[in-house]
Symmetry: C2
Subunit: 205 residues, 2 copies
């Protein structure tokens, strides 16, 4: 195994990304330090600059890969609308929150301001994740016999909802005395938004 995988034998870039993800998981965004990532990869603090233009570039690459695995996860949860659009939507929302809670630091880094600005490719990966959400909304509306017109707008509403719940949970604003179950808040609100979009009455009971 020491053929071409020694930390600084051709894979330093990815080694830095993985070290960075671990740092985010351990101590949040402020713990992501270029120097410490280099230390964990077994190189000096100057070495990363051969692969990244700076700290923000590393963060952007981490965000890009984060959006990829995030997109894959919610896509799997949606499972092409099986067994039915409403259950699949609930499963996707649950997967969304689960990702944010399991990979707190990574999620925060993905949605921090710096990431998408530093590298357009990170924005592209985010676009792809949003598109999965959009397809789910379209399928939901079709299953409800409603016109899929305006689905993009509804997808943004669902996204804002999921992101808001995720961020308030992460930042601790949902725990401090307010003892609300984040998943229940999200479920209820998504049901309301979707019902309104479908032009139906009360949310699915």
């Amino acid at each position: 195994m020491h053929v071409k995988r020694g930390y600084h034998h051709g894979s330093l870039k990815q080694a830095l990304v993985e070290a960075g993800v671990a740092l985010l998981a351990e101590g949040g965004p402020s713990a992501l330090t270029l120097t410490e990532a280099a230390r964990r990869a077994g190189v000096t603090p100057a070495a990363p600059y051969r692969h990244f233009s700076g700290r923000d570039a590393l963060l952007a690459e981490i965000a890009r890969q984060g959006f990829e695995s995030f997109g894959a996860r919610i896509e799997a949860a949606w499972d092409e609308g099986r067994p039915d659009a409403q259950s699949a939507m609930r499963a996707m929302c649950a997967a969304y929150l689960a990702f944010a809670r399991e990979e707190t630091g990574l999620y925060a880094a993905m949605f921090g301001q710096a990431a998408t600005l530093a590298d357009p490719r990170a924005g592209g990966a985010a676009d792809h994740a949003l598109e999965i959400l959009w397809r789910a909304v379209v399928a939901w509306l079709q299953a409800a016999g409603a016109p899929a017109q305006g689905a993009r707008h509804v997808a943004l509403q669902v996204w804002a909802l999921a992101h808001g719940v995720a961020m308030l949970t992460i930042s601790g604003h949902f725990d401090a005395g307010r003892t609300a179950d984040p998943a229940a808040v999200l479920d209820g609100a998504v049901a309301g938004v979707m019902a309104a979009a479908a032009g139906k009455g009360r949310p699915v009971s």
Copy 2:
């Protein structure tokens, strides 16, 4: 005016807070540095430690004051439900987004993880802001002739929605190609959530 107001004549604590707010406005959370705040207040880097236990404590005090002015602003926009609950709710949502967009750095600091953990008083100020939202939801439901039961849950939904739209706008995820009007997304979603909570049909057209 040089009686007791010289920067380091009894008001250093508030001077540091104000310098910090300015730094947040100019360069975001990462620009909020204890050293630079001290420099602007005309004291050495060690001076702040007589008033704050560290950087996070300054951030928490800034967040606390931020939640106070934030709460005052959305309360004024709600204006006790005048001229009617629906318009007042829309005005409150608009004020919410306006605050987040005008005081981007401050808003991000208020909802960052560190702030509320470092000082429970910041959490208390956040509670007060949420309570205004809650009262608005209750009034909205009453005006719609619906039972106000479960209003707390609905208030959390509206909060998550507003926060999600605000954060996605701030982080640039709503601009990158997605050209969505944040206010329109929020308005539509809130209308949907409220209509569902009131047990009504389509959202207010």
